[in-house]
Symmetry: D2
Subunit: 288 residues, 4 copies
């Protein structure tokens, strides 16, 4: 599969598809997008592996010179769709997103191998083990702890190393509820995915359902986005909402919102894993 983005001009499609045709490649899926305001071009092309007389590495080498023609601002990658992607999940005590992802992976619904789950509480270890996945418990200091900042930095360093070991394609904050340090945001840029339990940009930060209840909104939502140093402000991958009414307490919203969190995270993660998400500035192009 090839994904590419670069400043727009005439002939890009012709150049790429000409290259693929020459190689005998059978295009299974092709999507294009031109952003008129930014004058930027995006594409994603899925090629039937058996139609090409060489492997992904060779395709990457050959495509490099084509991509180079599109100037210094081009971003591109060639990936082997046969390769299984790997993910690491970060969790705390809230189980619903974890349960959902474990269930989807074990049912073969999500194209990913879960390498590890890292939790700052041990509560979810058992269910993770039942699915045959490794669980790492990395305790984080509580609100009143001594030297809290140092202890927190140490804990994050431990998480960083664990993640590094697995070198995953996706680091999923499945209701992790800890704000990442800027250094980790940088190191995991484009791979760290968060699920926020509001329809952003409404209700940034803590207790969004309680904020939503206080404002009296008639829909609540969830947002899956890439993590950046700005809290809940990274590029949005997916969002969805459900209807609530005056009969729903803040507690009801917490419970009902979980249905949307599960769906939005699962969809956003799938698209990320399938290389359907191209980031440009603080926005995403999602080729569904």
């Amino acid at each position: 599969m090839i994904t590419l983005s670069c400043p727009d001009r005439t002939g890009i499609v012709a150049r790429i598809s000409g290259f693929l045709a020459e190689a005998g490649a059978w295009i299974l899926e092709a999507a294009y997008h031109a952003e008129p305001e930014e004058n930027w071009f995006f594409t994603r092309q899925v090629v039937r592996a058996s139609s090409v007389p060489f492997d992904a590495d060779e395709l990457r080498d050959r495509f490099a010179s084509v991509a180079a023609e599109f100037g210094p601002d081009v971003t591109w990658q060639v990936t082997d769709t046969g390769e299984v992607k790997r993910a690491v999940l970060l969790v705390t005590k809230e189980p619903h997103c974890l349960h959902d992802l474990l269930g989807r992976v074990s049912a073969g619904e999500l194209p990913v191998r879960l390498d590890a789950v890292i939790g700052n509480h041990p509560d979810l270890a058992e269910i993770v083990h039942a699915h045959g996945v490794r669980f790492h418990h990395v305790p984080f200091p509580g609100p009143g702890a001594q030297d809290r900042e140092t202890a927190r930095a140490d804990a994050f360093e431990q998480v960083r190393k664990l993640v590094q070991t697995h070198d995953p394609h996706a680091i999923v904050l499945a209701r992790f509820m800890q704000i990442l340090p800027a250094s980790l945001c940088a190191e995991w840029a484009g791979r760290a995915i968060n699920i926020h339990h509001s329809f952003l940009p409404s209700f940034v930060g803590a207790r969004p359902y309680h904020q939503a209840h206080a404002r009296g909104v008639k829909l609540i939502g969830a947002t899956c986005h890439y993590v950046t140093p700005d809290l809940d402000a990274g590029p949005i991958i997916e969002q969805d909402v459900i209807r609530v009414d005056h009969g729903d307490t803040a507690g009801d919203m917490v419970r009902r919102g979980r249905d949307i969190e599960r769906l939005v995270l699962a969809r956003g993660l799938r698209w990320h894993l399938e290389d359907r998400v191209l980031v440009h500035g603080n926005k995403t192009v999602v080729f569904r």
Copy 2:
């Protein structure tokens, strides 16, 4: 029809339904809501007029003493569902909400008589007249006008008087795009309904679709709310959203958002006219 809200306690339902049963009233619709946090009670009861041996005025007189039992904080009204409600619309140049409401009224879909449309531009007069409705043109001063504040106040005073003449049940800001002075917000409290073209509280103020486009959200929405002196912060009656994606320009969002604005305003207005909306603090109970 009876609507009532008051501090909650036992026996309210029994008292009201006992009163109605004694009068021989056949209850067509009955809805109750108890807000546990606020300990507040809300009800709406629709009675078949022919089942009661007296008219709405008499029912109001008799019910007054029942309502008084619920303490000084009770709010209630008895209305005659046979009476046709009346509305005045405020518009500028944007035609879509106006067209939609005119179409619904002339098709008999909305239970309301349009007494007048007031526009700060003459553009929409013709279509209003085609529907047999009066159109008042009240020019507002433009950005560079001399003595703009005074001219603006004069224009609003003219609008106020026109509205007063009709004494409508609803004053609908159908994309009016002018911020009401606080005095008018007070005078029209509980009757002035605005349609805002975003999913509030996101994107308050001007050009919300452009704000939404810049943020890269995956859904856009509209909000129907009562007007209060705080801009776009009044009690929300109804909201809805539609999905957008990277292919939608800000202009596409403007166009596509109109579908949601039309629907949300029409629903919110209907519920207001049918006395389904009970305001409490800055929130609404909507008995649909």
Copy 3:
């Protein structure tokens, strides 16, 4: 909690709420519905247990004489909302609804105790055990088996007895994929809940997603309904849909439809367990 339905007439609400007021009962939730065509009345009332000076059994005894006043066609029940409801699940190999329900129960989202899971394949035993729930394997004869009808009847008899042991409030066909014999439909009437993977009445029977794909519909859905002897024709509790397009193969629809099946089954089951669903003829009143 009291639920009741009966032919409509004046004074029912007054009688019930008078009875409750006399007992000092604090009404937490009250919902009423009058069906004008059928002239039938429905209500559901949730009372704060601590406000009543006696238990659910006593309330039931006292209420019996009130209910009797509403004629021979009255249907009612008084339940103790403190009592934990119990369910038995029937499954085959498809894991997604099972995973979802197990996850919800273990997260405390669904107010139910899972007494047992019965599967006609052993595949899902392990995950059921991981959640601490009993799993019964009852093999069913395959398509080419000898004396298939007899073997099938025997298998169903075994299932019947297992279910009888637990006497559950809900028997959930979580993608069970076997058509129940009429005798079981009768025995489990009002308790057996099925999830059908189409938006009924479209695409009754086998392979509904393939039927949907062949017809070229733009939305696919799922339906949660009570099981009756007529295949996929019982009273509908809940339905929902998601958008598909020409890019979705039948296989994509199978995968994507699971999200709707999970949600629709979880919602329908919750409402059933909370006594929010009143059946009348082949339709339901759902007091959400």
Copy 4:
């Protein structure tokens, strides 16, 4: 703009985009779809007119030889996106879809010129005239009329001639409620668009909301489709639904369903006019 469909094989994209690049064409939008089961390929490409040194007619002539390379089963057209499309509407008494389309056209939302409205009742003539559109009244024989079949055939012949005069890109049955004769279906194939007031394939034929009410479904919908001789069975362009509940009478469904009919018809018609809909067999590819 170019749309094309043909049996799939390698090199189609390269051939088309190579042709366009050679002409210096700047591609504004490009969409591709390969149907794996049918092994069929579909594309739609929008080119900036000013980037090509010749007009649409010349582009059509030059592209013809490219298209011919894709075999005898290729279907294609080159259209000038600068050309204003024209439509004729067929109506009876139901005004809501007509009002909606008139409003959209006069607000500049729909890229179409309405050449005429043909009604079998005169009721809607006035509003059509108010929008400056021609109205033709063609009376149809009522249920008890003499020689009804002949009179009906005559009326349809009159409609056919009127439509022929305008030679429109779209013939919209905006709740026309008359079944077209097979000869007209053939003559208008690919141009006649109907809005059916149910979520097809459920509730084909008359009074679908009443059918939906009787079945107790929890969502009602509408379907926009191309007209074919099989009643309500043509290729589906667009569908959508809204939630209903036990409180909605059949009459409420009729009223509430109109919101979906309006939206679904407006969307389907827009996509047809923008050449986004490619028909293949009884299904559509919709490049949104």
